[in-house]
Amino acid sequence: MVVENNITAEDVWTLLEQVPDPEIPVLSILDLGIVRDIKVDDDLIEIIITPTYSGCPAMDAISMDIKLKLIEHGIKNFKITSVLSPAWTTDWMTEEGKIKLNKYGIAPPKMSSDISDTPPICPQCTSADTKLLSQFGSTACKALYQCNDCKEPFDYFKCH
């Protein structure tokens, strides 16, 4: 049996671009680097995803959103596999994703190779003079900072 309507892996990648992260809806799950691979076999599409944080409650919602998106487009024979290794890193976030994140008011993560201890740039006023308020923010993936210039607090997507 051939996959319905000759769906290719590329078609699925394009569809998944439309699946937003449930907690940071400006990012798609592709921007976040959660989707690791899409395999199209004779009669089955396998979507391989990896969790951001072990306890991230959004992962169940993401699996459900992927399912709904595929079903909406008439794709029925698929399975979603979650893998832990290699462990997700913010280095997999796309450049476009980082720009979107910054515009949304969340400072994007530094690359893990960047070991300098310079704090993130304020996404509101672009000042480099910012300070850490708390290592833990509104979700597992974020820390809370404040800008010393515009005084606005902001979220920083932690380098992970």
């Binding site: 072990s54 832990l84 597992a140």
Partner: protein
């Protein structure tokens, strides 16, 4: 196979029990940011524990299937006996839990919760750092992923030990009391049980006895900065890893398991 299941359950149980303890802080943290911090840490720990339980359930089910090959179970029997992350967390008894005694100790004041988390996070750090090279691929994967999260927990809890220790006379007194209360539960972390010995021999578990020096060194360096003394090596309580617990675990489990035991399979 049995020993791998025991070892995986031990890892899962320690995380679940400290999670249940920490979760009681939700809405009660000293300030909003720290309420969020301890609950975020708790979320990481429950996620890790789910990964371990799911793996243990898979091993148990595969093992049972092998044992019953000669006499295949009926679908109903299979459904009833199949292990899952939920059945392992909600339907095992106190004696079956293999968590470290440290993790079941009371929250006490903020200092006691901090010291418990600090001791445990530093232990997890060195454990997972080695376990990411385990010959068991699944455990290696969980360890590598968890290590990133635990690194934050070590930083956060270290900072709090220092803040309280090198703080006021009141905060210092409290952290010293907390260290004295919890110290007797730290020795167990480095004592090798039968299932750990079997796993160490197979290259699946790190040699936990060898983690002790790194653990002590890290704890000592944070204590120095916090201007508090490392306790003398006194009498150490043991038993948690083999199911012999302090009286506290029963109370934790009755809270944790009440709903599933009273209303089996309840969901919401």
């Amino acid at each position: 196979m049995d020993q791998l299941i025991n070892y995986t359950l031990h890892l899962a149980d320690s995380n679940l029990i400290i999670t249940q303890r920490n979760a009681a802080w939700c809405g009660h943290g000293p300030i909003l940011e720290q309420d969020i911090a301890i609950t975020n840490i708790t979320l990481d720990l429950i996620g890790q524990s789910r990964n371990f339980y799911q793996y243990a359930a898979k091993l148990i089910n595969e093992n049972n299937l092998k044992l019953s090959e000669s006499q295949a179970p009926s679908p109903a029997e299979k459904a009833r006996n199949e292990a899952s992350e939920d059945s392992l967390a909600y339907l095992r008894t106190e004696r079956e839990f293999k968590n470290l005694l440290l993790t079941e100790q009371e929250n006490g004041d903020w200092a006691q919760t901090i010291v418990r988390q600090f001791f445990y996070s530093v232990y997890q750090y060195f454990l997972y750092e080695k376990m990411q090279y385990s010959k068991d691929e699944q455990l290696a994967g969980i360890a590598a992923k968890s290590l990133k999260e635990v690194t934050y927990h070590v930083t956060w809890s270290s900072e709090w030990v220092i803040r309280l220790g090198d703080g006021t006379a009141e905060s210092k007194g409290r952290i010293i009391n907390a260290v004295a209360a919890l110290w007797p539960y730290t020795g167990e972390m480095f004592l090798v049980t039968d299932y750990e010995a079997a796993m160490i021999a197979e290259g699946i578990a790190p040699d936990i006895a060898s983690l002790k020096n790194d653990w002590l060194k890290k704890v000592n360096s944070v204590f120095e900065e916090a201007t508090i003394a490392l306790p003398e090596n006194g009498f150490m309580q043991t038993g948690g890893k083999t199911g012999v617990h302090t009286e506290k675990l029963g109370y934790i489990l009755s809270d944790l398991q009440y709903l599933q035991r009273t209303y089996p399979n309840a969901t919401w």
